[in-house]
């Protein structure tokens, strides 16, 4: 498979009043052509900053201190802002989290959707508006020809998110980055938006990076999942790997705090106790250690490397070291392992 995007050893720092925040501390991942990669993790783990770095849409106090962002082998971090303008909205586009505030309140939505077309292609206004109408119909805005002249406040939240999606796909991007596109919406609308993204992916063949802190929506959309904690990835693999053969205690915690249909015992949600570390002074060892019931001496001292679990499944936990003692994961996770075996996988 073709890697169309590869992020290598990304480090992002923020200059703040209290000092330097090391928000991203060495992130590696890649995106294959045509697939959907989900990035999950608690609030503040660095998901948005990671993907914003790809397009260099960061706050002015941010510095990408190290790393490469290879797009078809070309390092985007070496490009000027002008060169990046040619990629943004054209090759790589982004869907933001809050549909209520993402649209310009004083511009008709037709103009807003047509904008990327007019910026990146030598098309007439008429053709651009024609394509805009098509795309609005595609994302499910009824009567698009007339509604193109309306302003954002005349649409519901779900409709506005569809418009935001229309803006992102209007110029057939190769990569679509969706940063929590459904968080602000109610559950039924969430499901509709996810279905829409899947449908669009089939129609226009984009690769998607889908960010969420809700593992529940991941299964429905992703091919692969990367789990993020305190500015690093801690585990990544296929959806089945992460859901039914998770290895990192943080992933266990996330899965445990997720309501599912088959947790038919009273859906008692266990959120992970404790809080993420302060990234002004990142810990020397494993950042998750203080919250990890399975932490060992070495977790305090040294950051775990990635251990290979299976062909495309890796986890950064000392528990996978050959010399580590065998531990028994929580009961709910064991149940998942059983299911994995039924699926034909080879759980640990």
């Amino acid at each position: 498979m073709d890697k169309i995007l590869e992020v290598k050893d990304l480090h992002v720092d923020f200059d703040t009043y209290n000092g330097v925040v090391h928000a991203i501390r060495g992130v590696n991942f890649h995106l294959n052509a045509g697939e959907t990669l989900a990035i999950v993790g608690e609030s503040g783990s660095g998901k948005s900053i990671t993907v914003r770095s790809v397009l260099q849409l960061l706050a002015s106090n941010a510095t990408i201190s190290k790393g490469e962002v290879l797009y078809h082998g070309d390092d985007l971090l070496q490009k000027s802002d002008k060169e990046m303008d040619k990629i943004r909205g054209n090759k790589i586009s982004m869907i933001f989290q809050d549909p209520m505030t993402s649209l310009d309140p004083t511009m008709t939505i037709g103009k807003q959707v047509a904008e990327p077309l007019l910026i990146h292609n030598n098309v007439s206004k008429k053709d651009a508006l024609k394509r805009t109408e098509e795309v609005l119909r595609l994302v499910g805005i009824p009567n698009p020809a007339a509604r193109m002249n309306d302003y954002p406040h005349q649409f519901s939240g779900g409709q506005r998110q569809r418009i935001v999606i229309a803006i992102a796909i209007v110029d057939y991007p190769e990569i679509l980055i969706a940063d929590e596109p459904t968080t602000a919406l109610d559950v039924t609308v969430q499901a509709q938006i996810i279905d829409l993204l899947k449908e669009l992916q089939q129609k226009i063949g984009t690769s998607i990076i889908f960010i969420t802190h809700d593992l529940g929506v991941v299964a429905g959309i992703a091919d692969r999942v990367a789990v993020m904690y305190a500015g690093r990835f801690v585990e990544y693999g296929s959806v089945d790997d992460i859901f039914y053969n998770p290895q990192h205690p943080y992933t266990w915690g996330l899965l445990d705090s997720m309501p599912t249909l088959d947790t038919n015992e009273e859906a008692r949600l266990n959120s992970i106790p404790g809080t993420p570390p302060n990234l002004l002074n990142p810990p020397k060892g494993d950042a998750f250690a203080p919250r990890n019931a399975y932490a060992m001496q070495i977790d305090e001292e040294e950051q775990p490397p990635f251990f290979k679990v299976s062909k495309n499944h890796f986890a950064a936990t000392w528990l996978l070291h050959p010399d580590a003692p065998k531990v028994t994961p929580p009961a709910a996770i064991l149940k998942r392992y059983e299911k994995f075996q039924k699926l034909g996988g080879n759980a640990k």
Partner: protein, 310 residues
């Protein structure tokens, strides 16, 4: 939209009626008469003069007479200024005042918007500091002080502009600058605050993520949105330019209505005071009406909220 404007024009007349009545009665409550310092007149002479101006009638009759006149566009006759009708007095002196007033508003607003926008875009740089310094100067120096300073240096010492003369565009520059400082400072400060806010909003980020250059992001998205609240302060600013112009016109000896207003107050010239008050109110109400229409044009949310089109 038309319905809305018609409604506003109806309110305009009601407001004018109330203002005219209030000014009339307030004026009557003032001590002294236009002729009280003319002690060379005998009581008989005074009686004749009073009768001539209708001042011997009861207040109620005077009021009705005045309002009927007003309805016909008649603002009465001045006690001073050669007994001219007030309307023609205002008419003769309107042009210079309107010219420097409008020039000051345009220069102040446009420069203020530019200054505020530059300050916001170059936030926390020397350009921002400079812009903030200039706008605070504009805000804190009273227009008459600035007028005197400009007159002394640019006109008297360096002789770049006429000291006090009213003939060509040249002579309108200094008074315009003196009056423009306050709107410039106010608009610049407002604009900066607003635009800093707008520049950090989600839709600006989305605009950037579409591939817009920084320049396009500002001109196509940020400016218009930042202008919305700025439009609301145009009304109050017009008020301060009008009051400022009264003094500034005096300093530069401009034959405008501001200067006339001051004179008519010092001489108890009731009809002129009233006429000018009503005229100023009319002007202000028109400015506010224009501001509201502008507001609706810039902000689509308002347009619909007021039962406009659609």
């Amino acid at each position: 939209m038309t319905k809305y404007i018609l409604k506003r024009i109806f309110y305009l007349f009601i407001t004018l009626f109330i203002i005219a009545s209030l000014t009339f009665f307030l004026m009557k409550m003032l001590p002294g008469t236009p002729f009280s310092n003319q002690n060379r007149m005998s009581p008989d002479q005074l009686k004749i003069v009073k009768a001539q101006y209708g001042l011997d009638q009861s207040v109620g009759v005077q009021y009705v007479r005045y309002m009927v006149g007003l309805l016909h566009g008649n603002l009465g006759t001045s006690f001073q200024f050669n007994n001219e009708p007030v309307t023609s007095l205002i008419g003769q002196r309107l042009a210079p005042s309107m010219q420097i007033g409008a020039q000051a508003m345009i220069v102040g607003t446009v420069l203020g918007i530019l200054l505020g926008a530059v300050a916001a875009i170059r936030k926390n740089t020397w350009a921002d500091t400079l812009a903030t310094f200039v706008s605070i100067l504009g805000l804190s120096i009273p227009s008459f002080v600035l007028a005197v300073l400009l007159q002394f240096y640019l006109a008297y010492k360096w002789r770049i502009f006429p000291v006090a003369l009213w003939d060509n565009f040249q002579s309108s520059i200094l008074p315009t600058l003196a009056l423009a400082a306050l709107p410039l400072g106010t608009v610049a400060r407002f604009m900066r605050t607003e635009m800093v806010d707008v520049m950090s909003s989600d839709y600006i980020e989305l605009a950037k993520s579409k591939g817009n250059s920084n320049w396009k992001v500002v001109t196509k998205h940020a400016l218009r949105n930042s202008l919305i609240p700025v439009v609301t302060i145009i009304g109050p600013m017009a008020v301060s330019v009008m009051t400022g112009s009264m003094v500034v016109e005096n300093i530069f000896s401009i034959p405008g209505i501001g200067e006339q207003f001051v004179k008519s107050i010092t001489t108890n010239d009731y009809p002129t005071i009233m006429g000018l008050t009503i005229f100023y109110s009319f002007l202000l109400i028109i400015v506010y009406l224009i501001v509201d229409i502008l507001y609706g044009l810039i902000d689509p949310r308002i347009r619909l909220g007021n039962g406009g089109k659609e």
